[in-house]
Symmetry: C3
Subunit: 177 residues, 3 copies
């Protein structure tokens, strides 16, 4: 049994969509990110020390712009997609995340992994993320080692500076369990 | 020169097969894992401080169920596949592994990389892993840092608890070289 | 809108080309690497503590053979490709790198991420890397922890030994900014 040209093309485009998402967050490329979500996107992250829940592209953009700010050095790599086409313009995807998040303000180093379960929708011929959620598999938090030197830090330039940031506490619930 | 629809579909399905494998081991999803191997799978891992050798799906399931237990926090990410179709129902694949393995029982943190060389076979229309071996490129072992906090740990729930584990020492040879 | 068989095949082959590159550098597989570049390849890496600039396959091979030597334990993983076909035999690609570079001679551990922007050209039916550049997103340098044990080290065997190495300082500019 073989996939059709259209199906294979959809696999390609959906993967590239998510690849752009990860590049977008870690470079704070807000114009790129704004093109990747449906208007009614819903988000739910079940982290270790945090939970995130929000809906709507504007809230998502608000959340991302203030999470990936100039005081952070993040790395988010989405791996090993398992894409399923569920309709002519609908698909689902499982991804396995590896992430490192250095918070320079708090001097914390968080690393870990998570399984994403996404839904994608094609609108006007373009695939977008309509739903994204993840569960943490492993999350490890450490104080930033004093002997560690940060010799490149992209978000220092492109991320929001302290005076530009707005509060996103209403999207986040802190604490374990 | 272009691949056929069937060949492109095979690339997709073989990649997804291996993606499921990595998600399966790190979440201790034994029902998923049981669908991924041929009955006569053969396995050979040439690690740094260990070698693993076994044959047969039952032994593989025994090995995996007792390796990814509740006292471990593992991350296994398979990257950059190079798939070659070697027959109508046979294929080979090279993958580049990055892995982190936190052993909470022994308080050890092992990380590293390896090159996999796999063989796949299609049975009843479904691709399965028929042979898998790897060679370590880099392996680094450290005591677990006392300042490190584990704030998410999936296998604590899904992995085998101490009283459920059975001995797999006969599959493993410890020690360097 | 669907891609053609040829376009989908090109995506496959260009990905595999870059996958081979990463496997080639981390295993010091010089015969493999020599097949992956156009004769006129141009390279520009804008790292944190270093910049690299060079042109031509011979210089690239010289640079790689002396960078991935027996005193290093490297891991370079290229993720999340965004490939664009720009002509019948020309393409561009964005990749997101995660890398770890253990320098045993200097007892330094460098890790980080970067965004690659590549150009590929098909010559005699084979895709090759014609241009590659990257910008560092994050780069972290630490002294190698004294409690860390290296239990596998592939390049100790395949990398150039001290007496085999030649100077590549003319390709590199050290220092930040």
């Amino acid at each position: 049994m073989a996939y059709s040209l259209q199906e294979l093309s959809d696999f390609e485009d959906i993967r590239t969509l998510k690849h752009r998402y990860f590049r977008g967050i870690d470079t704070a490329d807000l114009p790129l990110l704004a093109t990747l979500f449906t208007d009614d996107i819903s988000v739910e992250y079940r982290g270790g020390g945090y939970k995130v829940k929000l809906a709507g592209r504007d809230n998502m953009m608000d959340f991302l712009a203030n999470s990936f700010h100039s005081g952070t050095a993040p790395m988010h790599h989405g791996h090993m997609p398992e894409i399923t086409l569920t309709g002519a313009d609908e698909a689902e995807g499982i991804w396995y995340l590896e992430d490192i998040f250095i918070n320079l303000d708090d001097q914390l180093h968080t690393s870990g992994s998570a399984i994403y379960r996404d839904k994608y929708r094609r609108e006007d011929g373009v695939w977008r993320i309509a739903r994204t959620e993840y569960d943490r598999l492993v999350e490890v938090v450490q104080p930033l080692d004093s002997k560690l030197q940060i010799t490149a830090h992209w978000l220092a330039n492109t991320g929001r500076k302290p005076h530009e940031r707005t509060d996103i506490g209403h999207f986040i619930q802190w604490g374990n369990g």
